[in-house]
Every structure is written in C-alpha cells, then in structure tokens.
Subunit: 707 residues, 2 copies
C-alpha cells in the first residue's frame, strides 16, 4: 500500500515527463499535449519524443526515449495504436514509472488483444499504465497540464477522476467558466491497469485535494472498492456521479463501455454505506464541489431558515424534507431567539419569516442572533427581491457574517430576483460563499453537507462476527461437486444453515408409527408428515402428505394413511421412511440474499418476502462484512419496515434475530469462496424473542471447482 | 361565464386606471405604482388620486375619484387599511369595475372582519376585488405595469399568477434577467374575491398568454378548480409550482397563509389528471416556461439522442427514464438511418454516439437524417466540448436546423464545456432555441413537453355514469339523522351499497335451525353464523360465532351450539335471531374511498388494503366524476397493481368490477350532498369475471342537516 502510494505520487508530480509522439503540427494531439505542458508552466523537465527529432516550442525533440538524459517518471503515449507496444518497450528500457496511453484503438473498439499484450508487458516490467484511450492528466501541485483539452485550467482543490474522456475534457472548460478550481483531473479510459480505485486511494491522502469528484459508469474492482471508498470518505467529501441509474441508461452504458453497469440499486445502497455523496447530474455535482471544501461542518442537526418571503420559505421547507435536512422545531426557543428582530406579524416558526419589509439590518440582526445561538446548527438565509431588499447591502452583510461565523457553523444563501440580485450572487460566489439562485439547489447542497457530516461523525464500527463451521459446509459442497452439481440440495443447504447456527424447521425421518409419534412430540405440534420416496414425485396427488397434525392419534392415523395411499398409488414404490416436520405457521416472511457483486464483492440483501420483493422491489443492499449497527440500519431502510416493528396491534418481530441471520449468511459467503449465491426465502420471523426460521434455502456454487 | 370573461378583460385592459393613495414622495408605494404605470407606457388614461391634489409626473392628481371625468375600469388602492373601505365606497360611486387593493393589514395579520366588510360591500355594488395584500398587476397587452415592483418588465407570452407577492415581485426581475417575456403577472393576495381560478379561466382564452405559470400554496376552490384546469390545459401548457409538498412545508404554508394546504398527494394526482405540468422548483418552472410556448409538439413518443460523448448520452438516457421520455428502440431502423453519418466504432443504438471526433458537419448530417426520418418524433442533441467540437459552428447548424424543422418536430439541445460553449448556449437561448447546460435540465424540459403533448392528444372522455337509487340512500340517512348520528350503521351502509348496486356479502337472519339451513343453501357454503343480541357484545368469547360451516349438519350443530352457548353465557340475553352470512375467502383486499376535498371537491381514492395503504401509502386519487378510462388509469397507477394483474401464477383479478365500484361509490358521494365520507375497506376482489364484494363500509355524514 505504502509502496504504491509513493509510486503514484510520480504520476501526479513527475520530475520529468516525455511525450512519445510529439508533433510540430498545431492541431495534432501530439502537439497540443506538449503545448499544454509548456503553457501550463510545468515545474519538471519536458521531453518531446519523435523519430524526426528537431525542436518544438523551444524544446529539443528527442528521437527516442533513450536519448533523454534525465529521469522520465511519466511518458505520455500519443502514437497510433499499432506502434504503442513499441513505445511501451522503450519505456521499459528507460525505467519509466507511468505510461499514460492517450491513443485510442484498443479494447473500446474491440482490439482487446493488443491492450492485454501491452498491459502484461508493462506489469512484467514494472510500468504502470493509465489508459489507453484517455485524455491525459492535469495536476495542480506540479502545474502539469498533460492533456489535449483546454490550455487554461483553473487550479484549486477539487480532484476529478472520470471514466468518460469527453466529460473530462468538457469539465475542464466548464469548471473554469464556473470558477471551480481543480487540484487534479484524470481519466481512467480502458483501465488496463490503473483504475479509479488506485487514483482515489492516492488522492485520499493528497492534501491539495479537498473534495473528490468521480464520474463512473461501471466499476469492476470487487471488494477493494468498499474499503477504498470508506477510507476516502472519512478524510474528505467524495461526490460520485454514476450513470446507468435507469435500466435504459444501463443498457446504453453497456454498449458504450462494453461492461455491464451492474444493478444500480446495489450501487446506490453500497455507495451510501461507504459515505459517498451521490449526485444525479453533473450540474448538481459541480454545485456541491464548488463549496464543499470550504464550508464548515454543521454543529448538529438543527437548521433554521431565515427568509423575507413566506413562499420561498415554504419551498425551502419542502426541499429540506427532500434532501434530508432537519428543521429546528424548538418553537419556544425560536420565538425567544427571534422576537426582537422581527415584526409582530412575521412568523417565528421555522422558517423564520422576517416578511417582505425586512431591511438589510433586520437580516443582519436575525443572522447574528441565529449564528450565536448554540441550539442552531446551520442557517439557510433566503432573500427575495422586494421594495425593502437592498441586494448590494445584503451582499456585504452576508460576506461579513459568513467570514465571522465560518469557524463556527455553516450559512448558505439563496437569492431570488433581478439584475442587482444576480450581481450579488456572482459577487458572493466569487468569494467562495455558498449562494444559489434557487432554494432547491441551495438545499441540495446543504443536504450534501449534512451527508458528509453524518458520515464523518458516525463511529467506525467493527464488523460483527459469526461462528461458522466451515469444514461442515465444505463437506456439503464436496458432495455436490462429486455429483457434478453447481447447487446444493435442500438437505445440503440445511446442513449449511446448521453449520452457521441458523434455525431451520425441525425435521426427522420416521420408520415406524412409534418413531413418528416420538419425533412429533420432540418437535412439538402441529406437525406435517410426508412420504420419502424417489418413486412418488407428486406426493400430494398420491395422498402421501398430511398437514396440521395436532396429537398422537392424528400422527398414528396419518402414518397409516400415508403408507396405504403410497402403496395404492404405486405398488412397487421404494419407501425410505416418512418425514416428520415442524409445521411453519404465523410470522412474517422475509428474504435474505448474499452474493458476490461485480463492483463491490460480497454483498447481502434483505427484504420482506413474496410480493414485497417481486412487485414492490422493496429491498436493501449492503457490502459485507457489516457491523451490527449497519445491519440494523439496512433492515430499517425498507419501506415495509413498520411490518417488522408491528402494525395494527401486531407484536414487534424478532429484528435482532434477523440481523444475526444476515450476518451469519454473509459470513457463509465470505468464508466459502466456492459459494456464489445464497438465498433464504422465506426466512420466517416470529415475534420478538421467538426467533426466526430459514424455511427454504437455495445455495449456488461458482462454476470453477476452487475459487 | 361569458359575462365574467368580458368583465375580467377590463382588469387586464383598463381604459382608465386610478391610483387611490398616489404619492409625490419617491420611494413610497403610492409613488412607485404611478411611476411604473407612466414609465411602462400604459395606453389608457392614468388618474392619480390624493386629497392633496396637485400634480405628479406630469399628471393631474385628483382629489377624489369622483373628480375624474373619464371611465375608471381599475382603481389601485394603496391607502392604509383603515381607510381602504372608504376608498371602495368611492369606487362604487364611480362605477369602478375592479379595485386592486395593494394595501396590507387585513386577514393576513388577523384583520378578517375589515376584509369581509369590504368584500361584502364590493359584491353588493358590483365591484370585483383583487387582493388585498397584492403587489398589483402587469399586463403586456395594454403596456400596464401597475405594480410596486421593478419598472422594467420584459413583455412576452408567459402569464404568471402567484399566491406569493414576494415571489411575484422577484420573478419580474428574474424573468427579465433570464430573458423570459411576460404577457401578464398578477398576485392574488388574500383572495377576498378574485382568485387564481378566475384569472386562469380568463387567461385560458387570452391569446397573448401562450404559457401559464401558477405559484400556489393552498387552493380552496372546491370542484370548480378541476373544470377550470382541464379547460386551460387543453388550450395551453399550465405549469404549477405548489409549495407545501412535504409535511414540514405544509405546516410552514399553513402558518404563512393561514390556510391548510391539504394533502399534497391528492393535489399531485388530481393536478396530473387535469393535465397540469407540475414543477418542483421555481428554476425548473422558468426553464420550462421559457421555451414551452415556442417549441413544436412531438409527432409521437419516439425520441432519439444524438451525442458526441457516450457518458452524457448515458446520463441523458437515465434522465429520460426519470422524466418519462421514451427512447426509440428500433435498432435496425436506427442503424439504417445513421450508418452513413457515423464512424464504424460509434454506437447506432440509441443514444446515437457520433464519438468524440464528430465534427460540426457530422452533427449536421446526423441531425438532418434524424429530423427527416418519420419514425423519429423528437430529437435531443448533445454536445461535449472535444478537440473536434466547434461550438460556434455548432451554434449555426443548430439554429439553421431548428428553424428548418420547427414546423415539423422538436429538437432540444444540451451543451457542456467551457467559455465558447457558454457563449453558444447564450446565443441559442437568445434566439428562443431550447438549449440547456445540463442534460437533466434538458430532459426535464422534454418531459414537460411530452406531458403537455400527451394531455392534448388524449381524447376528452365522458364521465362514466352509474344508476344510484338516491331515494333509498336518503331513507338510510334520515334514519341516522333521526338517531342524531353523523354516521351510518353497518346495516344502513349496506343499504347504501345495495342502492348503488355494489355487491356485498350475503346475509340472512334465521329464527330456526330450518331457516338457517335454507338460507345457507341459498347463499352457498362455506357459511359463518353468529348470534344477534344486543346483550352479547363479545360474541366470540361467548362461543356465539361459528366459522367455515360447509354442510347442513354443521349448520344444524352450529345453530344449537350458538343458542346453548349464548344462554349459558348470559341466561337473560334477548336473542333476536342468528345471522347466516356468506364466508368471505380468497380474493385481494382493496380500499375505495370518496370524500369532498377542500381544493378539488369530490375525490375518490383507491389502493390495496391493509398494510399497502397503512404502511406503504400506495394509493391513488382522482377528482370525480371520472371516465372509465381515467378510472382504469387510476387503478393502474398504484405500485402494487401487478397484484391485481396476477403475479406468481395467480389469476388476473376483476379489475373491471373494481373500476365500476369506484365509479358507483363516486356517484353516491356526488348525488348525496349529505354524505361527507365513504370508505369501503376491504373491497375484496376476486378473479376476473368473479366480481368484488364490499365487505365493510363506513359512511360519514356532514355535520349540517342539509348540505
């Protein structure tokens, strides 16, 4: 880890950079890259490389890499795909640390073999590859603009990692226009070696990056992703735009990147679990990036809205509910706090309505009052252009109070009106003060700030453990393998449940009426009985099943009836005994699933059974392992959760046991690499204290013998 | 109707306007209003009125209204609340048609009595009141800016009606900054007389208003609202921002306007039913207003995305799913259409990816191809700033093709990049071409365009009828009234169901075992029996209920057992007989509700029973009456609808009978003004063809004897 960190530093802070395929013809990529490096004021050495040699932009052009005297940490490769491999071979001779392959024409157009060949060679020779099919890299710390994008990049503290080159290049321009400064910008292209996780992990510990923005389509990092994301979000806000949210978008992403995006529901839940702030659109992400680095965290959950317009106050309250911002409801305290600063007919309920006649001084007093009150943790200040509203004066007050209280708590602003108001918005924005033209945008930002805050204050919990008898499970698996099966039989799956100490319905095999009675009494009534015979498939049709048996006599009668009916149904049937089972009744049906996700590795799923899953898709996902707290949080996320808490006079269900079972199922998957999928459906959940029962369990094995 | 239309015209096109309370002191509202009227270039006569007389802004100031010679169609009232009544009395003498009371200090601060007094007097004297507590009126058709807002209003074709004065004034400035032209802008304030419906109805038939935008908090127009909205949305797009979406926002709205906002779910469903395009935020509404008047409607549902960046293509596909825009999926046709205009490695799946190397000419060819193809109904064209992208040239092409194909089908654009791109966005915007900096904003607009299109092409359906025996219902109600009850007993509610021909479980009262057997056989097994006795409240505890009786012998045994148990439970109990009921089993439980909504008048509700309603809030609302098509649409709206279609091998349920029952329940409410609430819960729905049963019905009566 440490080692690769050090290495990655030279990608962002190379001492020398070569451009293999440098061109003297303006307009060519091989020219633009060199020009951008030069114009960007790169602090290290610049080595254009082209067999023709000569000079360009005042620099010597080297005929080949080996002709360079100094160290080359990074080589930008802009030669055609056909000769890229040769260039990488040259890099190996020159001990280049990173080759950034801008050239396209590889796996993105089906030329997978060439890409693999390069990647393999590079790995063998200790070269890390970025790309191919990238637009290059921008790194503020070394004033490096090694891209073929715009020459002019605004430096700052937002680091951007993008899976789309076009979006990356356009973002360089867009961030400049919007006044957002970048600390780094890099695209991952075809990810033949370095991927977004490597970059994220480096940027997590790179001080200039105060906020990280990622544009993702598909992620294929397996379980590493979860750890990297969790570590990153503890240190700084990580905003992710992931396209392919919709099924139509996922299809489009698949045809665009050639890799399936995976289930967006899983991504959404797990990203949230990791503390990621997910933005829907690029605009939203940029709105958040702009201020997140600078705005102080709230001191707690209670936000107060100050407004001079009731209408925009109400709209903001709506937006707060949408974006998970909690409005302070301490009416008495609010009244006391604001009574001196507002007119008698204004509202001292939150939103605090100073009314349309509010002057800048009224605002000032209300702001100071709110910011000094330690029961108020964040402030949203709204201004509607009215006859009494002086935008210029408001701007001054906002600036002054923002600066004064910045060490203490956040204030965000939204201003709505004409030209003067627009000017104030631009003025405040330019000073890095969070101001938005629309209250929904403002509140979305506040919501992002709160998500980051809640993630950072949440305690880092240890994964919950569970004892699993792995040997017993391997035994069941080996029987399936011996049988050439990729799934476990019901009985084998039950063995797996037992090995994890998960309760299953009791079951015995009786060979005599006396056996049956004894087992029934051990298990407890009511009982279900059925014949065990390979020769009788449709047991109910044969009259070889008996339900709801409640006493000894019924057991004896049923035994006799099942034997008689079985024989009359098929006289030569081989009967291996009669199964005596606990009858499952009552309880709430739930589902627990566990499988290896392409993006996140082991993940668990929970939902209520039957139509809740199938029709309403009311399910929650988490990456595994999980702490107990995270597990309970996952259970509480589903919409039908009140059914577990008990509605309409029903008792609370055994939620603790559900959590335990999720953890156990997760550990089965985690500890048994050969298992690819587990589904407990239904897991019947009884009243609190009465536990759960895994009634039906399906377990699939991975295709390969040993994973 | 016709008459009030004509009248309303003089509010927007007065021949003469007086300002009662005109002031010579700049900064005072009485000054600003006169100044704005003068500076706005009003085409009629302007009469400042102030007891001091004299002259202002080159106009004679009249000492009182009666001193004016010419017609005064509108009087702006800006005197203090205490003397407003006198001013209205003067208006009566002068035959003023409209008094617009800008003055505040009425019901909004609790001074309800004064407001009512003025409203009553005005009504008696044929004066219509706008306000009090409004900012005035802007009307482009007569160049009238009778507001105390900004002097400079951009004229155009968007009419705005607002319930918030502050938002209205700020919008005047905001629309100017954004380059959106207004045909009218008016606030309704306290709505002592003229309300948003009166204004909407007028603007529906006013040609300059091509798009109507309404900002609403609470609406109290009862059923009139539905008719006015439906009529308006047939003629032109009606965009509504309604605050108080969230429970917290609704509280804030209540404390702001003093009127409860009502259930937002009802508003949302009914507004959609009426063809309203609901915007969440002001920004979103303005984005839509700007272009909706001008962009042609799509020719059908199939949209094609053309892009030079895969990433923004995928994001747009996501946004299309979110905003209900259907992407064409005719892959073969798309391939044929675009194969000549794109590189071999681009994607001819929708989104059509021209790839990052696309030149303006490539775009041009792709655009023309798409626009000429009659299988493509609308086009979303995206541009990412790449090395090959020339924003200026793109702008020219976009302008040319937009103009060429404007009579045929819509094209919308989204451009993403740096300064040049920003310039092109501003350039296209200024020409009225729909272009957006973010693909989500673009797609939200396209979604609004499609919602308007779908509403306009939907056939105007006749309300479905149902025969209701109103006399029988009145009879049941009168019995409840005689009993001083505001609710019907179960038996009375059943009578109401019968009067509407809604199936209820069969039930008879037996007085002998023979009766019981006969009734059971008439009804059909299985049967439920229970004692009828006022003296036995807890019938199950008394052993006086028998379930699931399946033959004659069980009926006879049960009869005997119930009589015996009842007597031994309470020896002196008066037994009125034994109820013989159909046993309800199987089927899906649903709920139908009907009540009078404050905003919309009679509304009906439908959802699946039990936890679907209580926990998941999976319900749909509609204003009544409803066509059959609208009813089926309502049923199909709930998330759990697949349960009615039949999932997991279940048969399809009798959805037709559900629709019929919703219509019948609606007509009961509609025809019986004394009924305030009906809830059928559960309505059990059987398999298709097997009908429904209203198992439990609660009916509430309005407090007043005769509604």
């Amino acid at each position: 880890m440490k080692d690769s960190d050090t290495n990655m530093k030279y990608l962002f802070e190379p001492r020398g950079i070569a451009v293999v395929g440098a061109s003297k013809s303006p307009g060519k990529i091989g020219h633009t890259v060199v020009k951008n490096i030069v114009c960007g004021g790169f602090r290290g050495n610049i080595y254009p490389v082209n067999p023709k040699g000569g000079e360009m932009l005042g620099l010597r052009v080297y005929e080949h890499l080996e002709a360079i005297d100094g160290r080359v940490d990074v080589a930008m490769i802009v030669v055609p795909a056909e000769v890229a491999f040769e260039a990488i071979q040259e890099c190996a001779h020159k001990d280049v640390k990173f080759a950034v392959i801008i050239s396209s024409g590889f796996s993105e157009v089906g030329n997978v073999a060439e890409e693999l060949k390069i990647a393999r060679f590079a790995r063998e020779h200790g070269i890390r590859i970025v790309g191919p099919n990238v637009f290059g890299i921008y790194s503020a710390v070394s004033s490096l603009n090694a891209t073929f994008g715009p020459a002019d990049v605004k430096s700052g503290n937002v680091a951007i990692i993008t899976q789309s080159g076009a979006i990356g290049i356009a973002m360089i321009g867009k961030t400049k226009v919007e006044g957002i400064g970048l600390s780094a910008m890099i695209s991952v292209g075809n990810k033949s070696d370095v991927n977004e996780m490597d970059l994220l992990d480096y940027l997590t510990f790179q001080d200039d990056a105060k906020v990280i923005l990622m544009y993702l389509e598909g992620v294929k990092s397996g379980e590493r992703l979860v750890g990297v994301l969790k570590r990153a979000t503890r240190k700084k806000p990580v905003i992710v735009i992931k396209s392919g949210r919709s099924s139509r978008g996922a299809q489009a992403a698949a045809s665009h990147t050639g890799s399936l995006a995976g289930e967006d529901r899983v991504f959404d839940d797990v990203a949230r679990q990791c503390g990621v702030i997910r933005a829907e659109s690029i605009q939203e992400a940029l709105n958040w990036c702009r201020f997140l680095a600078d705005v102080p965290p709230p001191t707690g959950e209670d936000c107060v809205i100050i407004t001079n317009g009731g209408g925009i106050g109400v709209l903001t309250a709506d937006a707060c509910e949408k974006y998970g911002v909690n409005l302070s409801d301490e009416v008495a305290d609010l009244k006391r706090t604001f009574e001196d600063v507002m007119p008698s007919f204004g509202s001292a309920k939150n939103p605090i309505d100073l009314t349309g006649g509010a002057s800048p001084d009224d605002y000032d007093r209300a702001l100071v009052t709110a910011l000094e009150n330690e029961n108020i943790d964040s402030v949203a200040c709204l201004g509607c252009q009215t006859a009494a509203f002086d935008a210029q004066r408001f701007e001054q007050i906002a600036e002054e109070r923002y600066a004064q209280f910045k060490p203490v708590k956040p204030i965000v602003f939204s201003l709505f009106g004409g030209e003067e108001v627009e000017r104030s918005i631009l003025g405040l924005k330019a000073k890095g003060i969070p101001v938005f033209p629309d209250v929904y945008e403002m509140t979305a930002f506040l919501g992002a700030l709160y998500r980051d805050y809640r993630n950072k204050i949440s305690s880092e919990t240890e994964p919950a453990k569970a004892e699993i008898d792995v040997a017993a499970i391997k035994c069941a698996i080996s029987r399936a393998r011996a049988d050439q099966r990729h799934f476990l039989l019901a009985r084998e799956a039950q063995e797996v449940m037992r090995a994890a100490n998960i309760a299953i319905p009791e079951s015995r095999v009786a060979h005599s009426p006396e056996d049956a009675v004894r087992y029934a009494e051990e298990i407890g009534y009511p009982i279900v009985m059925k014949v065990i015979s390979k020769d009788i498939i449709h047991k109910s049709d044969a009259g070889a099943v008996a339900l709801d048996l409640v006493n000894k006599q019924e057991i004896l009668d049923a035994y006799e009836a099942i034997m008689r009916n079985s024989r009359s149904y098929k006289s030569d049937a081989v009967i291996d005994g009669i199964q005596v089972d606990e009858m499952i009744q009552g309880g709430v049906e739930t589902i627990i699933g566990a499988r290896r996700d392409n993006s996140f590795g082991p993940t668990v799923m929970f939902g209520l059974g039957g139509i809740y899953v199938e029709v309403l898709k009311d399910i929650a996902f988490r990456a595994f392992p999980l702490s107990r707290e995270e597990t309970l949080n996952m259970i509480g996320q589903i919409n039908s959760y009140p059914l577990l808490l008990g509605v309409r006079g029903d008792a609370r269900k055994d939620i603790d046991e559900v959590a335990d079972t999720i953890i156990k199922v997760g550990w089965i998957l985690q500890n048994c690499a050969e298992i690819s999928d587990i589904e407990v459906n239904p897991l019947v959940v009884y009243d609190h204290g009465d536990g759960v029962k895994a009634v039906d369990v399906r377990i699939l094995l991975s295709e390969s013998q040993e994973a």
